[in-house]
């Protein structure tokens, strides 16, 4: 009897262990990074990170796959080091501050894949300067547009974060243009933060000039942010 009991016990043990295999899947080892590059000047195209451009990918080889989205940062670069290696369908890059792309590509993501996008930004902000006098911040700039649509509006945005933009601001000064602009016209926007409690004297804030084209689903084009400190005495 005791032999049979031990035998049954051992059999149960063998059965138990053979039915549970370790189900640790491999961690993702792929990486995809790159930038949005101005096809004419070669510089990276700045944008918003909030509600900004997303790189849309669909992993191949699955039924009903969802769209994976990679967020493009304010400086125009993106990176995801936690992708699974393999083939992906890269959907056309749209919904940004550039002329939408139309080509669907297939990319192979490996250990360190870099994929840059050459884009044509709707508007380039040129000859810009942002200065402060007391609590008044003055921005002067020129606009060069690359499409025939009208420029909808221009703006100066201020925030404590260098990712300042239209969706991330403590204060702003905007102006509606609704016209096609001439690259020689100089624009000026003045923002006075004297009574705005979000701007404290003695602290530094970032200010960025932006311009929006009137195309469907377009985002703001920006100049790089300028860091200014609000002086203590007026």
């Amino acid at each position: 009897m005791k032999n049979i009991q031990i035998l049954i016990f051992l059999m149960c043990g063998v059965l138990a262990f053979s039915s549970c295999e370790l189900d640790n899947y491999e961690a993702p080892t792929g990486s995809l990074s790159g930038s949005l590059i101005d096809m004419e000047t070669g510089e990276t195209v700045q944008g918003d990170i909030i509600s900004g451009t997303n790189i849309e990918l669909i992993e191949q080889g699955y039924e009903n796959p969802p769209i994976q989205r990679l967020v493009v940062k304010v400086d125009g670069t993106y990176r995801n080091d936690m992708m699974f290696e393999g083939k992906y369908t890269l959907l056309p890059l749209t919904r940004g501050n550039f002329v939408p792309k139309t080509d669907t590509l297939t990319i192979d993501i490996g250990g360190q894949t870099v994929h840059n996008f050459e884009v044509q930004p709707y508007i380039r902000i040129k000859d810009y300067s942002v200065t402060i006098d007391g609590t008044k911040i003055t921005a002067t700039f020129k606009l060069e547009q690359t499409v025939d649509d009208k420029v909808k509006s221009i703006g100066l945005f201020g925030h404590s974060s260098p990712a300042v933009g239209e969706p991330l601001q403590f204060g702003k000064k905007t102006k509606t243009l609704n016209k096609v602009v001439d690259p020689t016209t100089e624009y000026e926007l003045v923002m006075d933060v004297r009574t705005d409690k979000d701007f404290e004297k003695g602290k530094a804030y970032h200010f960025r000039i932006g311009a929006l084209i009137s195309a469907d689903e377009a985002e703001f084009n920006y100049a790089p942010a300028v860091r200014l400190t609000i002086p203590l005495s007026e």
């Binding site: 509600s51 969802p66 969706p167 469907d216 689903e217």
Partner: protein
């Protein structure tokens, strides 16, 4: 060993005989479909359950997404926390929490929707075979069509084009057959229209006192749904999106569809107007004060206004989580909490108050006058500016439209025999200020407190303690029961809710006429002004989009309409782009003797700006892993 063999065979034999009819036994605690529907009382029982499941956005409507679905309760009871959808728009704030437009502003109603549709389809199938007379058969056809239309309207509003299932599906082992693809958005709204019309054609006339669908309730539903669909078609280009759902027509309708739907709205509204069954409640007040009280009483007791109510949802059972509501405990001002720990949640905003007309200068929204130089676009107190000095903290609201006075509790006015104290601070005689903090000062031997009284229970504004005090400077009294003291217990509210009322039909009509150019312009202008006359106005305004939207917002405020107006007209993303909401701070000016009040505009204390993302115009489709449906854009 032989014993084991015998035992083994015996056990095997027993099992063979044991499982005979076990799977064919009928449950003794359930009714079969045939038994239920063959008895008219059984049909009535079933119908009551269908009405219970109707997605009526009433007092207990909880708009947010939560596990297990939305509607009718939030964590143990209706209105738990005092959250309403109006707080996700520009007209109201929550006193304590950061409610505002977000991906969570309107929740999923997918599983619940298709459950209701299946239940009503089950009844629709048996109607031809029931042993009832033709009259009752017609009524059943009409009533089930109404319920189905109501359910599909709620789905179409949230998701755009949805699978149209008009027959209860039979389950077989072939799962693929159960998957129904989404119809286009146009097909879905067309279906809502035909179901509404089928209901209207078969139901009897009647007013809101029926508590069940009537011909006019079906037409009112059609008027509302048609206006919604028409607006979506007309204003799509204000916020166009791209993606697979758009390419397949699952969301988005062409502009030409707009006039079709506007015409349907016009026809349905005219049918109600020409029936002569309905009119506005107390349409000719003698004074604005009387108009304000008339307006308030319409909501305190809808049963006293059968001429205006088209479809009422009644609450009668106290203590039942899913029918009675909790408006009284969460929304009455802090001074009248009567022991309830979390009152005062509903705070109408300064932008809401600014929308109302002033009787002396009618025809435009007139901002409250706080500064002498008239430039009301500012945020925060500026000691260098000259503020208008008022004798009382509610004088600034004098001369404003009666509906403001009938909806809100203004600082220093009486509610339930108590003066409601709402004050944000004071300016000392030397010009220094103490705002939005506790404290006191003595002037000429009299002690003054920043919030208006020495203890938190003596005032109802701006004190952050418990989040129980209004932080916009305006209190709330629409839908509250004045004569009855607050009972600090759950589920005591039994005020009935007018889901559809005549004023809404007139506003739908006016908007449809103005936006499409179809219909009767003269009649539309007349009914628009009838609504204003009921509110004490003595002049008329023209039929313009701006006037209609203002009337709609102020007349139907806090009735769960504003949110959908912003959605269907694609105004939400323009209105909410890093946008703060604002308060009117009553400040006691102690530099004057006797002290006067100045009103200061500011961002609502402790609040954040909100942004509306265009993808939120539609909800994402749930359960896609199983149903394989195309998701909405940008999700």
């Amino acid at each position: 060993m032989k014993i084991y063999k015998l035992l083994y065979t015996a056990v095997l034999g027993l099992t063979l005989f044991g499982c005979s009819d076990v799977l064919d036994l009928k449950p003794t605690d359930k009714l079969s479909g045939e038994d239920l529907f063959s008895d008219p009382e059984g049909v009535k029982l079933y119908m009551a359950n269908l009405y219970y499941q109707l997605p009526v956005e009433d007092f207990t409507y909880f708009h947010r997404n939560r596990d297990g679905g939305t509607f009718n309760y939030n964590g143990g009871g209706p209105n738990n926390g005092g959250f309403v959808q109006a707080m996700h728009t520009d007209i109201a704030m929550h006193s304590e929490f950061g409610e505002g437009v977000s991906s969570n502003s309107w929740g999923s109603w997918w599983n619940e929707g298709y459950k209701l549709i299946r239940d009503v389809n089950t009844l629709i199938k048996v109607i031809p075979d029931l042993d009832i007379n033709d009259q009752n058969r017609k009524l059943l056809i009409g009533e089930t069509a109404f319920i189905r239309a109501y359910a599909y309207f709620a789905l179409a509003k949230r998701y755009g084009g949805v699978p149209l299932i008009d027959e209860a599906q039979e389950y077989s082992t072939d799962v693929e057959n159960l998957k129904v693809p989404r119809s286009t958005e146009k097909e879905t709204w067309d279906f809502v229209m035909t179901e509404c019309q089928l209901a209207a054609d078969n139901l009897l006339e009647g007013d809101g006192s029926q508590r069940r669908a009537t011909k006019y309730a079906a037409l009112a539903l059609k008027s509302r749904a048609a206006l919604h669909a028409a607006s979506l078609a007309k204003f799509w280009n204000k916020s166009p999106v791209t993606g697979e759902a758009v390419d397949k027509g699952l969301v988005g309708m062409s502009e030409s569809a707009a006039s079709e739907f506007y015409q349907q709205c016009i026809d349905a509204s005219e049918a109600i107007m020409q029936s002569e069954v309905f009119e506005l409640f107390r349409p000719n007040p003698a004074s604005p004060e009387e108009a304000a009280e008339n307006y308030r009483q319409l909501f305190e007791n809808p049963n006293g206004a059968p001429q205006e109510a088209i479809f009422i949802k009644g609450s009668a059972i106290i203590g039942n989580d899913h029918t009675a509501n909790n408006y009284e405990i969460w929304f009455n001002p802090n001074q009248l909490a009567n022991g309830w720990p979390h009152p005062g949640r509903y705070c109408p905003t300064a932008e809401w108050a600014d929308m109302f007309e002033v009787y002396d200068t009618p025809g435009v929204s007139t901002k409250l006058s706080t500064v002498v130089d008239g430039n009301e676009e500012y945020e925060g107190y500026d000691p260098d500016r000259e503020y208008i000095k008022y004798d009382t903290p509610h004088d600034v609201y004098k001369g404003k439209d009666a509906r403001l006075w009938g909806t809100a509790i203004l600082p220093g006015t009486i509610w339930k025999n108590t003066e409601i104290v709402i004050q944000a601070g004071f300016i000392k005689p030397d010009g220094s200020t103490k705002f939005l903090q506790g404290g006191s000062t003595t002037v000429n031997g009299v002690k003054y407190y920043t919030y208006g009284s020495s203890s938190a229970s003596g005032h109802s504004g701006f004190n952050p303690a418990g989040g129980n005090h209004t932080r916009t400077g305006i209190g709330f009294k629409k839908f509250l029961n004045e004569p009855v003291d607050v009972n600090p217990a759950w589920n005591q509210g039994t005020l009935d809710f007018m889901d559809m009322r005549y004023a809404e039909i007139l506003l739908n009509y006016a908007e449809a006429v103005a936006e499409s150019g179809l219909g009767d312009q003269t009649l539309a202008k007349k009914v628009l002004n009838d609504i204003r006359k009921r509110a004490g106005h003595t002049t008329e305004v023209d039929l313009t989009s701006e006037n209609i939207l203002r009337e709609r917002t102020v007349e139907l405020c806090f009735e769960n309409k504003r949110f959908y107006d912003l959605i269907r007209r694609r105004d939400f993303h323009e209105l909410f782009n890093v946008r703060d909401r604002h308060a009117i701070l009553p400040i006691l000016d102690l530099r004057e003797d006797p002290p006067k009040y100045v009103m200061v505009r500011d961002v609502v204390p402790r609040s954040d700006p909100k942004t509306f993302e265009p993808k939120w115009y539609y909800r994402p489709i749930p359960g896609r892993g199983a149903n394989g449906l195309v998701n909405n854009p940008l999700y």
